[in-house]
Every structure is written in structure tokens, then in C-alpha cells.
């Protein structure tokens, strides 16, 4: 308590120190005057009286010193004083300062920006109250090979909702689109379909109106919809009277019951939120939709919840009927198990590894930048060597000198950090606006206090890091040696250059590590690009989706005829070479999975589940438009569709797996689902399509005609053909004019049909490689920066050595040394530095690149081509960086060099 009060007083008096000094002086003066008067009264002469008084008082300056130390906060005072000095010195050397600050700003700025991204995506909790209790409920099914995770079925939803012991709230969600018609332009906003419980689990209060209640879930009750803030602003200008209005969504009038708050975020950025209704009387074990969302009861652990789900799975399996045509054993043999994961993990996905690799490489860049700055500081300290030695000789403690030098470098660090923070802010603004849509939580990214603290900490730390090197070298008490060494007539021994050489070797080693990382990503990218994706010239393929609302046409035949008519109109657009229709474009399906497909001639053991195949429903022309080769047999024809012939096409890998060669598959019969489903004859085999990205084995496909006599998973009506994707191959793909003409073609057939999810096959292709290209670009930038900084380091050392040895060079030249020999001497020095750096870098790279092996494809982390090429690059660049300054050495005129003394 007493100490605290004193600290406070010291703080306040520190602020008023100038006045206090005056007061003390006056007080002492007064004291001495009184003593003098007293002495005078005792009969001393005036001079003697004052002398005695002063003697008795003691050393005035020493007293003032003690007084001062007690009064203020001496540590902070000297620190501020040092900072002031440092600032003055820094500002006196603008070129040096600018070089240091820009180097640091780039390093610190890049690290801060990436840290802000990591902080938002990986560290901060999701923007929901007590977000750690939110979990996604998935399942494993070891009995269904090739399927890592599987979502929930409506029947599971009912069982879990009613029987669980560990969930506070529980619901099923899926995302998609919903057509909004009856407005100027029919459109298809992104929609989130939720059962009652999802929004409750998120604990988000609506901005206007109310959330869904249990009643909204019941089939037959009034149709409702909620809007998100963005859509409400965009479409209705933030109209506060929106609640209660009717909107026509998917051809049905629905009442708006609420608007979500601005900060509400969910997967895939929904614009509308619609209730998802299941009729328990028409629910079977399958099909499996998206994941369920649950909020755990307080105190319930993940393990307990998993055990709870496992218990309920047993109940579920016996509580619901299997889908018609499918045996219950299929579901039993799938051996469903719980797979719960935090919602955050699901949202963040696999971006984490790439981000940490980028952060690591940028950390290395910062290290290289620090080494560069340390080198510059060494040169400056070198110039101050005499001054420092003199101060040490006059009694300055080496701790004091060291602190002063450290304060200077940390001030530089903070200045660089401030500029870096500005750069990071600008970079993040660009990222948020233009960033890849695949980056989760993109719109939450920004600079918060945590990031600020990180930037400040990194600035101080790098200041201390590059500052400690000159300190260790020059602030040590070696007065005599230094003062002796001031003579300028000798070339410096190798010991003097050791620190700078070491720094350069470290720089080269780090740069090599970065370049190896970038090289491996380039090789990965090359490998991905060289994969034959199963489609050609994707930049020429325009993709757009459209839905024929049920209110317009319901019977599959009629819907198909309308789609056919649209296709004909699209094909008639100038510049269009072919058109196709299908349930989805390659690389477009969000979820993997697939359905079991049986082959007539492949008997299965009792209880064995047939392999899962990806299903796609297509119309004639799909393969031609995508550029997918038909290897054997033929494409579907319109006659196949309209006569509902039982035909099928499979991908090459299916044909090879079952029948050895593609041609052997023709004429064989397959079917989806159980005995009730008819066998369909294979009429064609097409090449494999890399549907889940170039880095994933192409999935096995079964293609059905878009129009069939029987659909297995839902949809006796036209929904299977009513909603789908049009592909248009044209050299005008991606242009606004083609899109407008395509829209007009669709609307000329049906004016109430929304067009949405417009893209090109090329965009889908690029998106599938977004993570690789993002990492590649970041690593290439880091590697480039590392290389340039490393070369500047080599250049600087050689240039410095040359300038220090001008006299020696002059003597050598005068004695007949050949220019080529001199040149070689310096280049050899540079080569030596680059060589040692490269060897160390190779060892480090071999260890470090293993961390990024999950990002690689088609190359190992020890790819010899990359390592050789990068080493050669570093050595050649190192020779060049030392050749340039070395040329100055041979230009030295011996007469002038010797006279300069």
C-alpha cells in the first residue's frame, strides 16, 4: 500500500520534474543561508561563515542526485532519454533509416496480415454465444467403402431430436437455392433450410420479427421465411415493415416472419432462411442429407455426446422402415457410427495447414529481413566504434551502452512495425474485398487488439533480435583493444568480418528454404495442371443453372420438353458450338458420397453393400459440351429419354473395375437401389472426370438419362429434371453478352424461371486449385523476397570488404596482381558464403518441407529436381551478387588508393 502510494507520487512528480528541481534548489539555498546567518552570529567572517555552512551541508550535487533518483522513475526517465537520443540519431541518417524501416515493414506487415487471417479463422471463436458448445453431427459408415463421412437423414433427425440426452438444441440444416418470383427479375438467392432448433442452437436473436417455432416445422402449417440482413438491405432497402409481407418462394406464397441481424453468419452465406419440413409418416431410413447442428448441454463432453448418438443409432435403425426397394440389411451392414466435430472445425476445414505454412515462411522472411538490418547496424556500429570505446573509457558501463544500442534498434523495429501495420491493414482490406470465396470466415477478418499486440510484440522482438548482434560485438568492454585498433593502415583480420559473414550465410540458408518451398508448390501446380481432368478447354464452357418451378410444369415429360426447347434456343445463339444439360457440372457437387449401384452379373455375398457410385443425370450433348471423351459405345439420344429406355453410361474406372476393359462393359446391366428398380443396359463408357479436384482420384460415375421411368431417391415428379445445369460451349463464354442472350433464350420459353449460379467451367477448375495457387503465390512472394534480401546481404558484405581493402588492393595492383586474380578473390568469398549457406539451407529444407507435405501433389518433399534447381539458382545469384561489387575492386587506381591515406 505504502509502496503503491509512493509509486503514484513518483509518477506525478516525474511529470512535474522541472518545477520540483527548482523548488529543491531554493530549499537548499535557504538552508545554507540560515546556517550562514547562524555562523555569522557565532562571529565568523562572511566568507568563512558561508564556507562552513556549505561544508556542513555536504555535497550538494550528490544530495540532488539521491533526491532525484528517489523522486522520479529513473528507469523510465533514462529509457525515454535513450529513445529521444535514438530518434535523433535515426533521423540523422535518413537513407539508412528508410532502408531499415521499409525492410522491416515488409517483413512485419506480411506477418501481421497473415496472423490477422489466422487469428480470425483459427483462433477466434465463431460469432455465436458460447460457440464452443456447438457441434456438427456426422456419421461414419465403414460398411460403405469410399465414403469418409455421411450426413443425417430426416429419420435420424426425428430420433435424435426426441431421444437425445446430451443436446440442449438440435436441428438439421442444408443449403441450396430457392427461387423468388413475382418480382421484377426472378432470382435464386442462396437459401439455408433449417429445422426448428438450428437457429435456437446458434442463439442468435433476430433483428426484426421472430425465429422459427416448432409450428413452422409442421407440414400443413402456414409457409414462412426469414431474411438475412444483406438480402433485406439489397432487395427491400432495409424496409422496417417487411415482417408480415408475402413473398413467392419456390412458387408458394410465404410470410416473412423475421430478419436476422447484420452480424449473423453461416456456411455459404445464406440470403434466405426457410424452414425444412419432414413428414414423419413418409420418412424412411434414408436418404442422407446434410449434417445436424447441436448445442451440447452444459457440462456434456464430446465423448459423452458421441456415446449418446451411438446409442440412438441403434434405436433409429429399428424405429424406421427402409426406403422402398432397399433391404434393411443394407443399412445394418453400413455399420453407422457417430462422428461429431466442433462446428468451428467444420467451417475452417483444411485451410489451417496452408495458413500455418504461409505464416512459417513469412516468419523466415522476417528473419532474413532482420539479418539484413543487423548487417546495416553492424556497419553503423563499426563507424561508432571509437566513440563507444571512448565512452567506455570515460566510465560508461557496458550495460548502459548496450541498452542504448538496443533502444535504438527497438525504436527502429517499432517504426518499421508501425509502417508494417499500415501495409497489413491495406492488404487485409484488399483481401476482404477480393479474397477467394473459398476462404472461410473471410468477412470477419480485420485488425483487432490481439493482432495489434502481435504486431507490436513482433516489432519489439525483431528489434531486439537484430539489435543484440551489434551489441554483442561492440558493447563489450574491450576498450584498450579498440582504441589501439583505430589505426586505419591495416586491412582488417578475418575475425572482424565473422559476424557479417555468419549473418549472410544464415540469410542464404533461409532464402534457400523458402525457394525450395516455392519450388515444390510450383511443381505441385504443374502436376495438377498436367492432370487430364476429363473435360477440355474449360474456358469455353459457360455454366448456368435454372429451375422450372413446379407451378409451371410438374410432369417429367413436360418439364423435359421445356428443357429441350431451352437447349435448342441456347444452341441457336451465335457462336455456340454445343449445349448440354445435366444435374450438375464437373467440380460442382459440394458433398462427395454417392449411391450403391449393383451390377447384374456381379453376385454379392449375403449382406454385402455394393460399391458407391457418383450419380449424374444428363441429357444428350452433355459429354460433347464438356469435352468428355466417349471411350466405348455411344452417348444417350433424345429417343432414349423420351421413350424412357432403360439405358446407362458409366465412367472408365467403373468399367475397368467390374469388367476389365471399357468395351466389355457394353451390354452389361446395372441398377441403383434394390430389386424394385429395373436393370439398365450400359450403352456407353466415358473417360474419368476429376470431379472432386485434380488432387483426388476421379470418382466412379454412373450416368442416368435425365428422363427415366422411375427415380429412386425422391422425386416421382419433375424435380429431378426441373432443376439443373445448362452448359454452353462457345468462344464467348464468360462474357456478359452471351449471358444476356442465354437468359433471354430461357425466359423466351418461360418468363418465370430464375437463372443462378452462373460460372464457367474454367472458374470451377481454378477454384478447385484455389488452395494450391494461394499457397503457391504466397510462397513465391516469400521466396522472392528471401532471395532478394539474401542477395542484397551478399552484395553488401562484398562491397564492404572491397571498400575496407582498397589500400591492400592498391598495393597488390602496384606489385603486379592481375585484375582477374583480384576479381576471383572477391567472387570466391561470395561463392564461399553462398555455398555454405546453400548447404545449411538444403539440410534445413529437407527437415522443414516435410511440414508442407499435405499441400503437395505428385512430388515428394525431397523432390531432387526442385532441390537441384534451387541450389543452382542460389549459387549463380550469389556469384553475380559478389561479382558486381568486386568489379569495383579492379577499377581501383593504385596511386589514388595509396594517396588516400
Amino acid at each position: 500500500m505504502k509502496t503503491l502510494r509512493r509509486l503514484f507520487r513518483r509518477l506525478t512528480s516525474w511529470a512535474t520534474s522541472a518545477r520540483d528541481e527548482e523548488v529543491l534548489r531554493a530549499e537548499i539555498e535557504e538552508h545554507i543561508a540560515m546556517q550562514t546567518a547562524e555562523n555569522l552570529r557565532a562571529g565568523l567572517s562572511l566568507v568563512e561563515a558561508r564556507r562552513q555552512a556549505l561544508l556542513k551541508f555536504g555535497n550538494v550535487e550528490a544530495i540532488k542526485e539521491i533526491y532525484r533518483d528517489q523522486r522520479g522513475l529513473p528507469f523510465i526517465e533514462t529509457l525515454l532519454c535513450d529513445t529521444r537520443h535514438a530518434l535523433r540519431r535515426i533521423l540523422k541518417a535518413p537513407a539508412f533509416t528508410a532502408a531499415v524501416i521499409v525492410t522491416l515493414a515488409l517483413g512485419i506487415g506480411a506477418n501481421t496480415a497473415v496472423f490477422a487471417v489466422i487469428d480470425t479463422i483459427l483462433i477466434q471463436p465463431l460469432p455465436y454465444p458460447r460457440a464452443e458448445a456447438l457441434v456438427s453431427v456426422w456419421h461414419t459408415a465403414p460398411g460403405l467403402p469410399g465414403l469418409a463421412t455421411i450426413g443425417c437423414s430426416p429419420s435420424m433427425y426425428f430420433t435424435y431430436r426426441d431421444e437425445n440426452r446430451s443436446f440442449q438444441h438440435f436441428g438439421l440444416w442444408s443449403s441450396g437455392g430457392a427461387s423468388v418470383t413475382g418480382v421484377a427479375q426472378p432470382e435464386m438467392p442462396r437459401a439455408l433450410f433449417v429445422t426448428y432448433g438450428v437457429l435456437d442452437a446458434l442463439e442468435v436473436q433476430p433483428l426484426l420479427g421472430r425465429r422459427f417455432s416448432q409450428a413452422d416445422d409442421r407440414p400443413g402449417s402456414a409457409e414462412t421465411v426469414m431474411l438475412t440482413y444483406g438480402y433485406w438491405q439489397r432487395r427491400f432497402g432495409g424496409d422496417p415493415s417487411i415482417v408480415g409481407r408475402m413473398l413467392t418462394i419456390d412458387s408458394r406464397p410465404r410470410t416473412v416472419i423475421g430478419v436476422m441481424p447484420e452480424e449473423f453468419r453461416f456456411q455459404r452465406d445464406p440470403e434466405l432462411i426457410l424452414p425444412q419440413r419432414f413428414d414423419p409418416t413418409k420418412t424412411f431410413l434414408g436418404p442422407f442429407l446434410g449434417p445436424c447442428l447441436a448445442r451440447l448441454k452444459p457440462g456434456v463432453t464430446m465423448e459423452q455426446a458421441s456415446a449418446d448418438v451411438a446409442r440412438m443409432l441403434d434405436l433409429w435403425l429399428n424405429a424406421w422402415p427402409p426406403n422402398p426397394g432397399i433391404n434393411r440389411t443394407v443399412f445394418q451392414d453400413a455399420r453407422f457410427g457417430p462422428k461429431l466435430q466442433p462446428l468451428k472445425q467444420e467451417i475452417v476445414g483444411d485451410i489451417g495447414s496452408a495458413l500455418w505454412v504461409v505464416m512459417g515462411t513469412l516468419g523466415l522472411v522476417l528473419l532474413i529481413a532482420c539479418a539484413n538490418v543487423a548487417n546495416l547496424l553492424l556497419v553503423r556500429a563499426e563507424a561508432r566504434r571509437q566513440e563507444l570505446a571512448l565512452r567506455a573509457a570515460l566510465g560508461a558501463g557496458w550495460g548502459r551502452i548496450a541498452r542504448e544500442m538496443l533502444v535504438e534498434s527497438m525504436t527502429l523495429g517499432v517504426m518499421g512495425g508501425a509502417l508494417g501495420l499500415g501495409l497489413a491493414y491495406a492488404a487485409l482490406r484488399i483481401l476482404v474485398v477480393k479474397g477467394p470465396e473459398t476462404l472461410p470466415r473471410l468477412h470477419e477478418i480485420g485488425i483487432d487488439p490481439f493482432v495489434l499486440a502481435f504486431a507490436f510484440g513482433v516489432s519489439l522482438l525483431s528489434g531486439a533480435l537484430f539489435g543484440v548482434i551489434p551489441v554483442l560485438k561492440y558493447a563489450r568492454p574491450r576498450v584498450a583493444a579498440t582504441l589501439q585498433g583505430i589505426s586505419r593502415t591495416v586491412s582488417h583480420g578475418p575475425g572482424r568480418r565473422r559476424a557479417r559473414n555468419t549473418l549472410v550465410v544464415v540469410q542464404v540458408a533461409l532464402a534457400l528454404v523458402l525457394l525450395v518451398g516455392a519450388g515444390l508448390m510450383i511443381r505441385t501446380f504443374q502436376r495438377l495442371r498436367s492432370v487430364q481432368p476429363g473435360f477440355t478447354h474449360p474456358e469455353e464452357v459457360q455454366i448456368l443453372h435454372s429451375t422450372i418451378p413446379e407451378a409451371i410444369a410438374k410432369e417429367p415429360e413436360r418439364v423435359m420438353r421445356m428443357q429441350h426447347e431451352i437447349l435448342d434456343k441456347l444452341a441457336a445463339i451465335p457462336g455456340v458450338t454445343s449445349v448440354g444439360f445435366g444435374s450438375a457440372a464437373p467440380l460442382e457437387s459440394f458433398l462427395g458420397g454417392g449411391n450403391p449401384v449393383y451390377a447384374e452379373d456381379k453376385r454379392l455375398a449375403e449382406g454385402q453393400v455394393p460399391p458407391l457410385r457418383q450419380i449424374r443425370r444428363i441429357a444428350p450433348g452433355f459429354f460433347k459440351t464438356m469435352g468428355t471423351r466417349v471411350i466405348a459405345g455411344r452417348d444417350f439420344t433424345w429417343t432414349d429419354l423420351y421413350e424412357k429406355r432403360r439405358v446407362a453410361i458409366v465412367s472408365e474406372n467403373v468399367a475397368r473395375e467390374w469388367w476389365g476393359v471399357p468395351g466389355a462393359a457394353l451390354g452389361k446391366r446395372i441398377r441403383e437401389g434394390g430389386a424394385a428398380d429395373p436393370w439398365r443396359e450400359i450403352v456407353g463408357v466415358v473417360e474419368n472426370v476429376y470431379d472432386r479436384g485434380m488432387h483426388v482420384e476421379p470418382p466412379a460415375f454412373a450416368y442416368w438419362p435425365a428422363l427415366m421411368d422411375r427415380y429412386i431417391w425422391g422425386g416421382e415428379n419433375g424435380s429431378a429434371v426441373g432443376s439443373g445445369m445448362f452448359a454452353i460451349r462457345s468462344n464467348r463464354a464468360g462474357t456478359e453478352s452471351l449471358l444476356t442472350e442465354a437468359q433471354q433464350a430461357i425466359w423466351s420459353v418461360n418468363g418465370r424461371q430464375p437463372v443462378f449460379l452462373v460460372t464457367t467451367l474454367k472458374a470451377l477448375y481454378d477454384q478447385s486449385m484455389a488452395r494450391t495457387s494461394f499457397t503457391l503465390v504466397m510462397l513465391a512472394i516469400a521466396g522472392g523476397m528471401g532471395l532478394v534480401l539474401g542477395l542484397v546481404g551478399i552484395y553488401g558484405v562484398i562491397a564492404y570488404v572491397v571498400s575496407q581493402r582498397i589500400r591492400e588492393i592498391g598495393i597488390r595492383t602496384a606489385l603486379g596482381a592481375q585484375p582477374a586474380g583480384l576479381l576471383a578473390m572477391f567472387v570466391r568469398h561470395g561463392l564461399w558464403l553462398a555455398g555454405i549457406g546453400a548447404v545449411l539451407g538444403l539440410v534445413a529444407a529437407a527437415g522443414l518441407t516435410r511440414l508442407m507435405s499435405s499441400l503437395l501433389f505428385g512430388v515428394t518433399a525431397l523432390d531432387p529436381v526442385t532441390y537441384t534447381a534451387v541450389t543452382a539458382l542460389v549459387i549463380v545469384a550469389g556469384v553475380l551478387a559478389s561479382y558486381l561489387p568486386a568489379r569495383r575492386a579492379i577499377a581501383v587506381d593504385p596511386v589514388r588508393a595509396l594517396r588516400a591515406e
Binding site: 509512493r6 531554493a26 530549499e27 539521491i66
Partner: protein, 114 residues
């Protein structure tokens, strides 16, 4: 260093006692009074009093204000605060206890310990 620490503590106690007995007083007056009573403790280094005064003031045991001295010069007068009076009592008690303990200790003869 150690020696001056001990001295500061002793001096502080003397300053408090002086102000307690004589009331508000300026630095010179305090120095003279201590000098009179303690002999040569302050004869050489009157100035060491000022850091002690500062410390006591920072601890709010004493307060100061400017006033006129006997011969009408401006002088800084120190006075005991309530906190200072409490501190003095506590310190005096502790001092007496310590002194008594030390006394007893010195009074012990070797044979008493057998």
C-alpha cells in the same frame, strides 16, 4: 549502501519525533534540532536530510507548505500528518521492543546460558 539505509530509517524516525515535539518546522530547523540532540550524526551531512524528507512526504507521513521563516525569508515548512503520527507511534513501539530485546540480549552472561 547498507549503512546509509540504516541511517535513513533512523533519521526518518528522528524527523517524525522532532515534528511531533516542535510542530511545523523547516528543513534547517529539523537539522539543527537533530544535531542538538544526537550530537554528530548530522554535523557533516545536513543535506542527507532532504531525501528523507522527500520519502516521508511521498509516503504522506508529513506534508509541506511554503511560509515565512523567523527572519522573514521564504521557507518550506514541514508538519506531521495524521498518518505520520500513527507511523511514529508504531515505529516508536517497534523501536522500544527492539531496544528491549537487544538490551536483554546484551545483559545475558555466558554462565546464564548453561
Amino acid at each position: 549502501m547498507k549503512n546509509s539505509d540504516v541511517q535513513q530509517g533512523t533519521l526518518a524516525l528522528m524527523v517524525l519525533k522532532t515534528l511531533d515535539v516542535l510542530g511545523p518546522l523547516h528543513g534547517y530547523g529539523i537539522a539543527r534540532r537533530i544535531e542538538q540532540i544526537s550530537g554528530d550524526l548530522l554535523t557533516v551531512n545536513q543535506g542527507t536530510l532532504y531525501p528523507v524528507l522527500l520519502k516521508l512526504e511521498q509516503e504522506a507521513s508529513i506534508a509541506s507548505e511554503w511560509g515565512a521563516s523567523e527572519n522573514n525569508r521564504k521557507a518550506r515548512f514541514y508538519r506531521l500528518t495524521r498518518r505520520g503520527r500513527k507511523q511514529l507511534q508504531a515505529e516508536a513501539r517497534r523501536w522500544e521492543q527492539t531496544a528491549a530485546t537487544i538490551d536483554r540480549f546484551f545483559a545475558v552472561k555466558a554462565e546464564d546460558l548453561r
